[in-house]
Symmetry: C3
Subunit: 133 residues, 3 copies
């Protein structure tokens, strides 16, 4: 098994960044041909999901709809002003498990991996754990 | 590790299909007695979850409540008219990881695996990745 | 691979319980130094997520906001009166995959593992599946 970390910098409070290429590159560089890859976000106000990265409007729709459901300035008890970010991250989830096939990241035709920032801008880490042979 | 694909056809725009038996059968047919199984959906407008499959009304409640929160005809920028499907899939998630024990799929008494279609009817694929010994 | 179960008792209808220590202890006791751990909830009205456990107000905000979006007394067809619990569990998810590094559970500084009860009080089980070497 291998653990790999990489960093990214977000530039807005709420932002979706396509990390598909970064994850795919780390998998290609590894010796694992047949396996699984955990994408794990070690933060509590951002998260990871898999969705369409062909049309950037999908990103805007995800952010806007989440903001409508869970507004930044809702009625929360957590004093740091970022409760919405904790909630969105809890719902979408801090990890995804992906398939490695023929030494490459396996995804559907239109799928990409989205890093979702809900309390930026910040420096963030993404942790990968690869298993297989 | 083994990668297995199977297909299914959805018949409605919004529909939940119980795929527990299909997944369980593939696990039983494999040589893996002790392991894990990733259920991965290689599409961006459908997804997978685990919930009660004893009473079919649970399926209706999931679909109806999701539609109330994220309506089909909401105010979206993505031009294909299926933004709600991208959103629902991002929230619920495109994969689940399950446990293989004694050569069988391990689930709680009332649990089943649900394929959730939000932009059908279509032909869809489900990808399994099994690991273990 | 190892499968481990532990029990917990919830005391309210809707409640978040921090199970980080219980999971971490089982991982530390195992012989696995480098691996992955599936946290699986074998029930359909509770679930697991990873979020901030430093400030308990985050728990309250998660429960309150979920209740506002998916109310207990909404207009559901499932006759048992706990449709909201099925929905919340489906959205958040019945499993999470975590990383084992240097024989310990790997989490970000502020992260903890939350067992989310939506239809208590009850006796519940948490199932762990550990893989690695």
């Amino acid at each position: 098994m291998m653990k790999i970390e990489f960093q990214l910098t977000t530039h807005k409070q709420s932002e979706i960044i396509d990390i598909t290429e970064s994850v795919a590159k780390e998998i290609s560089k590894s010796t694992i041909k047949d396996g699984m890859c955990v994408v794990f976000i070690p933060h509590t106000t951002c998260c990871v999901c898999v969705n369409e990265n062909a049309d950037k409007s999908v990103k805007d729709d995800i952010l806007n709809t989440l903001n409508a459901l869970i507004p930044r300035d809702g009625n929360y008890t957590h004093a740091e002003g970022n409760s919405d970010a904790h909630l969105k991250s809890s719902l979408i989830g801090s990890s995804r498990i992906l398939i490695i096939e023929d030494g490459e990241l396996f995804l559907g035709t239109w799928q990409g991996i989205y890093f979702c920032e809900f309390d930026g801008p910040r420096k963030r880490k993404v942790v990968l754990k690869l298993t297989g042979s």
